[in-house]
Each structure stands twice: as C-alpha cells, then as structure tokens.
C-alpha cells in the first residue's frame, strides 16, 4: 500500500506527478459522470445533429464539444466513456494477472512437464497477435462488458507467466525458501507464503504497464464494432462513429481520441515511475 513517503517521492518526479494528475482526473470523471455531464449521453436529438463545439460558429452553449451524427452531446459521452475505459482496463489486467501469476508459479515451481506444457501454450499465444485472438472469441460470443474484460484478460497473460516463472526459478534456490522447506513447510505454504510475496512487486509493475495496452485494446475492439455496444458509451465506439463524418465534422472523432491518448499517457507515466521505484530490472520491452 502506498504510504506517505511513497507519495512524496512520486511528487518529486515530474512525469510521475503528471501521470497521477491525469489518472485522478479520469477517475473523477468516471465517478461523477452524472454530475459532470451536461446531457444524457445516450439521448438522441435529430435536430441537434453535428453541432460544432461551442467556440465555433453555429455552436450551442450547452454542447461544449459539439454533438455527433445522432445529436448526442460529445462532452457527456466522453465523461461517461471514462467508466468503460477504466473498468475494462483494470478488470482485464486483474484477469490476466491472475491467470499469468498462477501459471507462472506452477511452471516455475514444479518445472518438468508442467513447465513444458505451460510454456508451449504461452508460445502459441504469442504466435497469435492478441487483438486477433480477442477478435476470434468476440466473433462467437455475445458482446458486453464482462465478455470484453474476460476476452482481453485471456489474451494478455503470457508476459506475467514468463516473468513470474523466471523469478520463481531463482527464488526456489534461495536460502530462505530452502530453510522453510527443510523446516517442513508444505507446498502450498511455500508457494503462497514465501514465494508469492516476493514476486508481488513484479506483478504490480507488469500490471501497471498492461493497463495502457488493455485500454488501447478495448478502444480498438470497440472501434471495430466488437466491443461495447450502444447504449453503453466507449471512446473507441465514438471514434468509429466520427470516422464517417471526418470530412464535415472533425470534432466527432477528434475529442474521444484525445481522451484515449491522455488517459494512456497518464497510465504510462505512472507505470514508468512505479517500475523505476519497484523493479528496475523489468523494461518496457518485456511487456
């Protein structure tokens, strides 16, 4: 848990602070969406379609960022869209973290054929781009928030399993584990009490870096029409609507894209800081 010292250290890093500010802002948007939004994000108003942002000619004072092709308010939709991005981002990371940690622990601790099977499966998952894997599952399931979380989670566990496995391999040989073993600790106790706490910091670091990937993936899938469906609002879905009107109404696609970019940037900054703090050995390229 972050104590006061950790937060003070975070505030010393400029990019870390910026990341924190962005993330806090996005979380506040998600939490207080009903109060921040000026309109119902799903209400259609044909007479108000494709209104430009308020500072342009023809803009209306209550539609700050303009409206989309169905007359829905873009600002309100962006505020509500933060919910989907965060829920899917964090949820999917929890799913893949759990799968990856369990498989990594098993594979590193037991070795032999268990390791061989798990690592071969991991190789096969790497041979299919994760977005493709997610597409295949979404092709045969009903889309929805939970499906999306599980699907994205299922496709991103390999990096966890690999890192955890290699950590377990070296932890297994360490004296404190051997000592616990000779003192008669059972396998469950060894794994969960002695090994797991020592891989926690790696788990947290990979997770923080994976949130960025996950948010981008949700946006991509929703953009392709396979993620969140109306009336739920997703930034990726908004972009897909806006693409068709890019020639006449640039604002429809521009603002949700900015929202995604800022959020991911915040996650990257915070994640980088966390990595430098907790585990400098893991680099970005491993995730």
């Amino acid at each position: 848990m972050p104590d006061q010292g950790m937060i003070r250290q975070l505030l010393k890093s400029k990019t870390g602070t910026l990341g924190l500010l962005i993330i806090v802002a996005v979380i506040l948007c998600a939490l207080f969406a009903p109060w921040l939004a000026s309109h119902d994000p799903a209400s259609v108003a044909p007479l108000k379609r494709l209104k430009p942002p308020v500072w342009l000619d023809g803009g209306e004072s209550t539609y700050w960022l303009g409206t989309d092709n169905l007359g829905r308010d873009i600002w309100s939709r962006i505020v509500y869209g933060a919910r989907v991005s965060l829920i899917v981002g964090v949820g999917a990371v929890l799913v893949s973290g759990m799968i990856g940690a369990v498989l990594g622990l098993l594979s590193g601790y037991y070795g032999k054929w268990i390791n061989a099977i798990i690592m071969r499966v991991a190789d096969s998952f790497l041979a299919i781009p994760s977005i493709l894997l997610a597409l295949v599952v979404l092709a045969v399931t009903q889309p929805g928030l939970i499906t999306l979380i599980i699907v994205i989670g299922l496709t991103n566990w390999v990096s966890y399993a690999r890192v955890i496995r290699s950590e377990v391999l070296s932890l297994k040989e360490r004296d404190f584990v051997k000592a616990a073993q000779s003192a008669g600790a059972g396998q469950g106790r060894l794994i969960f009490h002695h090994i797991l706490p020592n891989v926690m910091s790696s788990l947290i670091v990979i997770s923080s870096m994976n949130v960025a990937t996950t948010i981008l993936m949700e946006a991509s899938l929703s953009f392709l029409g396979l993620g969140i469906k109306p009336p739920d609002v997703s930034w990726g879905g908004m972009l897909s609507d806006g693409r068709q009107y890019i020639a006449t109404s640039w604002w429809v696609a521009t603002f949700p894209g900015l929202a995604i970019t800022f959020t991911v940037l915040g996650v990257i900054f915070l994640g980088d800081w966390l990595r430098d703090k907790l585990d400098p050995r893991i680099t970005n390229d491993q995730s």
Partner: protein, 305 residues
Amino acid sequence: MKGYIIKSLLQVIPVLLLVSLIVFILVRVTGDPVALMLPETATAEDRAVLTEALGLDQPLYKQYITFLGSALQGDFGTSFRYGESALPLVLERLPASFELAVAAMIFAIIMAIPLGILSAVKRNTFTDLLISGISVIGKAMPNFWMGIMLILFFSVMLGALPVSGRGGIEHLLLPAFTLGIGIGAQMTRLVRSSMLEILNQDYILTAKSKGLRPFIIIMKHAFRNGLIPVVTIVGLQFTSLIGGTLITETVFAWPGLGQLLVTAVNTHDMAIVQASVFVIALIVIIGNLLTDISYRLLDPRIRYS
C-alpha cells in the same frame, strides 16, 4: 547452423498444433455455431439437421481430429458470404497486407535509427527530451485515431492524399505512416538505450582517444553493435505489426487480410476467421524464426544450442 534451423523448424509443429487447438476451443466451445448460422426463427428441427450436417453431434475430440485433418489439407470450409473456399480468399489478400506491413516497417526504421542515435548522442539535452516525448506520445495514441487525424489533415484539409483504398504510392503513405509510427516509437527508445550502453564501453573510449571523428565512431564502432537488439525488436514487433494491420486496414479501407478478417468476424463467417488465424499464426512463427536466425548471424557469440 543447419542443424539449428532444422531443429527450430521442428519446434514449429507443436506450436501450430496448439494454435489449432486454441482456435478450435475458442470457436467451438465459447459459442454456438448453429445459433449463429441460423435465423432466430429456426425450429428445433432445423437446428438438429444443421448440427448433424456440421458434425457437431460428435464428441469434441472427434470434431477436433476432423477439423485438424481438413485444416492440414488447407480446407477450412466454405465462406458462406462469398460462397467460395476460405483459404484462397485469404491468400488472395496477402500481397496487399504484405505491401502495407513492409512499407510501415521501412518507415519505422527510417524514423527510429536516426532519432535513436541522435537522442543517445545528445543524451539529456533538449533534443533527447523532445524525441523521448514524441515517442511516448506515439505509443499512447491509438493508431486508428492517428489514421483518422492524418486523413483529416492531409486528405480533408489539404486535399493532398487519397482518403482510402489501394493504388499508387500516394495511397500507401498515410496507412504506412499510421501503422509504422507506434513501432517506430518503440524502436527509437530501443536504439537509444542500446547505443547508450555501447557508447560507455572501453573500445569507444579507445576510438575517441585515437582521435577518430565522432561520426565515424558512432556509425562504424557503435551503431553496428547497437544493431543487434534492434533486429530482435524488428522481429518481435512483427506480431504487433500484423495485429496493427487489422485496424489500419479498416481505417483506410485497405483491401488486405485484416479488412477481410474484421468483416468476417462481424458477419460470423467462421471459415474465413479460422483460415485467417492459421495463416497469420504461420506468418508470425516464420517471422520469429527468421529473426532468430538473423540475430545469430549478426552476433557470432550466440551459440546454436
């Protein structure tokens, strides 16, 4: 070397088998193909007939063997949207995707190598900061949004480049830039860190004290050794490059494999989906193998164990 290549080729087989198993499980277990293929008004009898015709009443392991048997012969079934065999439809789209992927990779390399070197040599200066900043933003931007913004600027506002489709070089520029920028950003970071490591080594100091020109030191002594991790990342990026074509092709209506697959997924055309996944997995595996081999050719210190 020859033994190593043969050994690696043999290792491809279990991976491909597992890919087939994953696809099979995903398609058959997570969804109901019968419900997807029939209209909602279908009777229980219709369902039974189709279930039997598709062999879905057989036990799962038998279904898998049948599926694998036909997959080995290149038979992934008939696309009900095109009414043709799925594999040729998929292969037909490959050249367009390949063209886009190669162009994107060339763009990424052209961008990453000079920027990476520059930012390593000018470490901790404003230039370095600027380049790092740009590459972080490049990583954070969803590439489909990037594509839409490029269309807005170059096609809508300037009217300089076509909005979509495949044709001459002017059609290729925007999609290749869109697809390449994310990879270029990651490569820039890698070239930078790899160059930094090398610039600190003794032989660079020796070269400097011999009075060689900085340009010669950087290009001849440092860059050639800094290239090794870059080759690896080019190979590793191959997978995300292929994944990226799915989206970039959709944004620019580029008639490649990605566009075919996305449409197939949206219309539940499972034959096309399965054939595409196999072809893509095979390409990725071969790509990784080639990376591994070129890596070893570049650095003789790596042994073929």
